[in-house]
Subunit: 403 residues, 2 copies
């Protein structure tokens, strides 16, 4: 009986820091340990008041560059983690073969499926290609040709659907009924995905040691990354914060935490296109748990755009709008800034060390011109910022090499 | 008498590999050891025939990311090297105080001067600011506001001139006559500058050890960097190549080597604006010496633009057009590609390891839209390239941290 139970129920894996550590050990040979960059100019700008009547905290940023991850985004971590467990017969995904029933044939024949128009599509496509597992990706027919080409380029079968969640899901359901044994690998609402994304936190802590980061801030869309980071840093003393766009209600996580209840629907066309989704059920269970996430802050579209441009201009790296959310909060959210200032003072410290996750670099370069264009809110050197531009340097730290 | 001689003549420093090594030891605490990045997709594209009737060499690229250097360009190396020798009374620059006459007062009062509209202006401004030396930068009045602001932001005094070389030089001459003791720090035509730029070669070799690079390719404008690299790699077995734009005769180094005589005038508006100048006298003496530089290759404007876009898109870093010259040669110059293919075959090897210097990242983001726009020559995934886009990964290697 217990044998039968095992073969029918998925493996239970707990949402704990130890599980994130185990995930890191498992996926380490397959991912890039992305570099952590620092930049004195960015620190100086962050540590300068935004307006004459404001005070500024003293902040040092540590940029975890997941734009340098395989496929150009952190999503590869979760996808690889999920597939390794599938291969090992230790997956926690519904319908996955367990130790007892596991056969490589199942995976090489039926494969995996997901729906995504973004980085998860490419991440799953490449991870599946690497492990020789067939992948089917359901993409909205309105996806940009570049994204479709990239996903196909990674060897996946692309099936088109309508653009609403209902339309996508019905296509997935139909494909799954046609192909028994195919396993759905969701973009964020799964234990193995959350644990995989959390591994970036383990790396970040290792790379910045012996310094202990005072805080880490990361974008929150479906919440896989934020919940993973919260687990990775739980009990370490490093506070975890989320960053969201406020445009058209995309700040569902912030609003949900304020209301004490998950927001289930979001319909926003924020330029931070990686976080247009509501937080998933499992990520929410972590994010909303006491002491896990210390706060979520929301910023406007122009602030995201300015932060993105500043990163391109000063750090000399390509990041997508979503990836600029954390820097935008540190630069522009007076609530966050005042909180840091007060904490620094209360603790008798000089400054805070803040890790910021730059989640990805998959921006459409054809559209980049408009995104980068000098607008009303253009960042001017010296505009109420005191001395800036004294050096545009970038200090890479502790950057081991994945082969 | 010999004392008097010493105090009047500048320090002699030889153009040798040992001098580059000494320069590296001297400037190491003041510069960033920039990372060396690799990228499997770029390698795959380089190792794919450009046309059905062509053969492809197998090439692995090692990108030396000087866009991550202070001020966003390699020029900081030469500027810091020149100023450290000035401070120490060991400068080889004409008019520099020597050991006997050296007084910190001279430097803190009269300072340094140069003319540049590009990265050397910002490099000298920041280096001088760091050492507390006043800097005067003569810039053409047509320089972009961003460049003027950046140079002023680094604390330099900016004086405007006409846009021709004659106009610039006459303004510099006048300023020097008004301020006795001021020392001219030229952008490339000086021993201390050449040795400073060469230090990137020492780092690159260290970072890629124990592998010995088969070749290194770098942009050539005034030739400070290419001559420095030639010295750094002399006697090591690593071949050094130059990369130039062909537009409007900007390939003066290539033409000069073919004719056996330095080309003295260039008037080109190539998008690779860092290399619009002819090779200087001293750099030429190194570059044209037997066995120092194995060849110089020239590429078209569209090829530079495509290479630049490919670096932004795949490596996720911001580079200026000039910085894309080396990659453009590796991708598009069939002369270079055929040479590599033949050499690899002749040596019974499988592939070549090629270091490519990405010289800087100071691109005007307002103009980036046009530079990046999808044009006739747009890079299409799969366009005659076999399987590409299978992973957009980036492997950072051996990236020690300057504090």
């Amino acid at each position: 009986m217990s044998q039968l139970m095992d073969s029918e129920s998925p493996v239970k894996r707990s949402l704990t820091r130890d599980s994130v550590l185990a995930a890191h050990t498992l996926i380490k040979p397959h991912i890039h340990q992305t570099p952590v960059l620092t930049n004195k100019t960015l620190d100086r700008i962050c540590s300068t008041p935004r307006a004459p009547n404001k005070l500024a905290p003293k902040i040092n940023l540590y940029l975890k560059c997941e734009n340098f991850q395989k496929v150009g985004a952190f999503k590869y971590r979760g996808a690889v983690h999920a597939l390794l467990h599938l291969q090992n017969g230790t997956s926690s995904l519904p319908g996955a073969p367990t130790n007892q029933t596991h056969s490589p044939t199942i995976l090489t024949q039926s494969g995996v499926i997901t729906h995504s128009s973004g980085n998860h599509a490419q991440a799953l496509a490449l991870a599946a290609h690497t492990f020789g597992i067939p992948a089917t990706i359901v993409m909205p027919h309105i996806s940009t040709p570049a994204k479709i080409a990239a996903t196909k380029g990674y060897g996946a079968r692309v099936i088109f659907s309508g653009s609403t969640a209902t339309e996508r899901e019905s296509v997935v359901a139909q494909l799954m009924s046609e192909k028994p044994g195919v396993v759905l690998v969701p973009p964020y609402d799964a234990v193995d995905i959350i644990l995989g994304q959390g591994t970036m936190g383990i790396e970040l802590a290792e790379q910045t040691a012996p310094r202990k980061l005072d805080a880490v801030i990361a974008p929150v869309g479906g919440g896989g990354m934020l919940s993973g980071l919260a687990l990775a840093f739980s009990g370490t003393g490093t506070r975890v914060f989320g960053a969201e766009p406020s445009f058209q209600g995309a700040d569902d996580c912030k609003r949900g935490l304020e209301a004490g209840r998950r927001v289930e629907h979001v319909s926003s066309l924020t330029i931070a296109d990686g976080v247009r989704t509501p937080v998933g059920v499992l990520p929410w269970s972590v994010i909303s748990a006491p002491g896990m996430v210390r706060g979520v802050f929301a910023v406007g579209e122009e602030e995201i755009r300015m932060a993105m441009r500043l990163i391109w201009e000063r750090v000399k790296i390509v990041v997508e709008p979503t990836a600029a959310l954390g820097v935008a909060v540190v630069l522009f959210d007076e609530g966050f800034r005042e909180m840091v200032r007060v904490e620094v003072e209360r603790e008798g410290r000089d400054e805070w060390d803040v890790g910021v996750v730059l989640s990805g670099g998959n921006v459409d370069l054809d559209a980049a011109g408009a995104l980068l264009a000098r607008g009303v809110g253009q960042w001017e050197v010296g505009r109420g910022l005191g001395v800036v531009g004294v050096d545009g340097d970038c200090e890479p730290r502790v950057q081991d090499v994945a082969g």
